[in-house]
Symmetry: C2
Subunit: 251 residues, 2 copies
DNA sequence: CCGAGTTGTCTAGTTCAATAGACAAGTCAT
DNA sequence: ATGACTTGTCTATTGAACTAGACAACTCGG
């Protein structure tokens, strides 16, 4: 059947966007049906061969689509058994001791932090106020992507006073953890002073980094961390994939 | 330079969506800058070679992107001269004699109508009311894509009483014009009885047919046409690409 | 008219998406 | 344990996307 339909005449036309690969169209299509709630958490998807037949497509193409959904954290495949929907969210407690690696490890997942970019810049009014600096003071800005079990959870922009932590980027890149980076600077214990939570939607950049579509909901978490003496260390603006995380605030 | 960067490490990373071809990303990127109003109507884009250099991409890839923008009606290229932005809209008068082919021809463009699909169905409450039939009566439903100079302008769903126009689809497919199709049935003059205009956004299907992105604005034009004697002929629900058409209502 | 600048077209080569088929490795119910 | 079913991996092939370079055709200002 279908001896090489050159992308245009078959009945899979309804998905085919010009310039978008077939596997991506299938992945997006399935993401929709999952996000719309057609499958419960843990539900089993049809076998790859059946999906392939339904779309009129090779099984390998479906496998690529499923790999994409896996990377987005929407699905988990088990060899010999099947592919299962995964819409449960990581519980992320917000408290005095809010450390990504610890939280994720405690939940039984593999934590990962990657530096996506960094630069020195002049403190904005907001950053200066948070860190107790004068506007225009030299600050280090880090863009960090965090993942649990290789699934992106958040992107965060962190500012630190450059005077105190001049090589924060270089050190983070080596140690791959904010806690360990601060430890390198002799900060053994630090605490969350305040956290401000709002919400929004992904822009194109965050969507790419988080492996989300554009216009998916995100939790915006602004925060300030201080030393035991109350001296400001860093202020952060994190964007959490709301499809994958729930913030827990104990009272 | 750039001895084949295998899609991932160069500075064009910020556009690269997984599973989306480079030319499509560039086309979408330029569409944004045009729609956001960065270029006036008729403004000249940079030469292809310059755009290619800016994106770090081969000129052929830029040409493909520009071809796409041309197909979307956003841009017009002139050999030896350049590529020019085209954000003016087709003036589409709504009146008693509202005929796509005539209006487009009068504006100096080449009109085209293609039947995208058709079927017999049972008249809904709304369609029955418009056509003066009983609910559930047999009606012919046509899906027609209309274009001016090969640029898609509208998709329209038209319903006709099947009792009177049983083979409307077959005849339209041959004659490629509603006017000529009705002429075949002996309807020489027909008139627009009423027109109802609202607005909305493209869904995935209409976006594909109109070569628009999803969530672009559309004008929704519902209408009823009647014979000289006032007998209902057809009711239509057209979706016009608001980026390319302006409806003109004389009073 | 000339020449610089711009789009159109052609050839060629490399990488990757998608197809096709086969088989290994794992799960699960009977 | 057996066997049906499902995912993982391998090889091979075809066509499209992208790159590279060259040249033709065309426009426009000096």
């Amino acid at each position: 059947m279908l001896t090489r339909t050159p992308r245009g005449s078959s009945d899979k036309n309804h998905l085919l966007a010009r310039g978008v690969m077939l596997w991506r169209c299938i992945a997006d299509d399935y993401e929709q049906t999952i996000l719309v709630g057609k499958y419960d958490n843990g539900a089993k998807l049809p076998p790859e061969s059946e999906i392939a037949a339904r779309y009129g497509v090779n099984r390998h193409t479906v496998r690529r689509a499923m790999a994409e959904l896996g990377a987005r954290g929407l699905v988990r495949t088990e060899r010999g058994s099947g592919t299962f929907v995964r819409t449960d969210k990581l519980d992320y407690p917000i408290g005095q001791r809010t450390r990504f690696s610890e939280i994720v490890a405690a939940a039984g997942h593999e934590a990962e932090g990657r530096l996506q970019g960094h630069r020195h810049e002049l403190a904005s009014e907001e950053v200066a106020a948070h860190l107790g600096l004068t506007v225009g003071a030299d600050v280090v800005r880090l863009e960090i992507l965090r993942a649990a079990d290789r699934v992106p959870i958040s992107v965060a922009t962190t500012w630190l006073p450059a005077a105190r932590y001049p090589d924060a980027a270089k050190i983070f890149r080596r140690l791959r953890s904010v806690t360990r980076t601060l430890d390198h600077y002799g900060i053994t214990g630090y605490a969350r002073k305040w956290t401000r939570i709002s919400a929004g939607f992904t822009d194109a950049v965050d969507a790419g980094r988080l492996r989300l579509s554009v216009h998916r909901p995100i939790l915006v978490v602004e925060s300030l961390d201080v030393t035991g003496d109350g001296e400001p260390i860093m202020t952060t603006r994190g964007r959490f994939a709301a499809d994958r995380v729930a913030l827990i605030v104990e009272s």
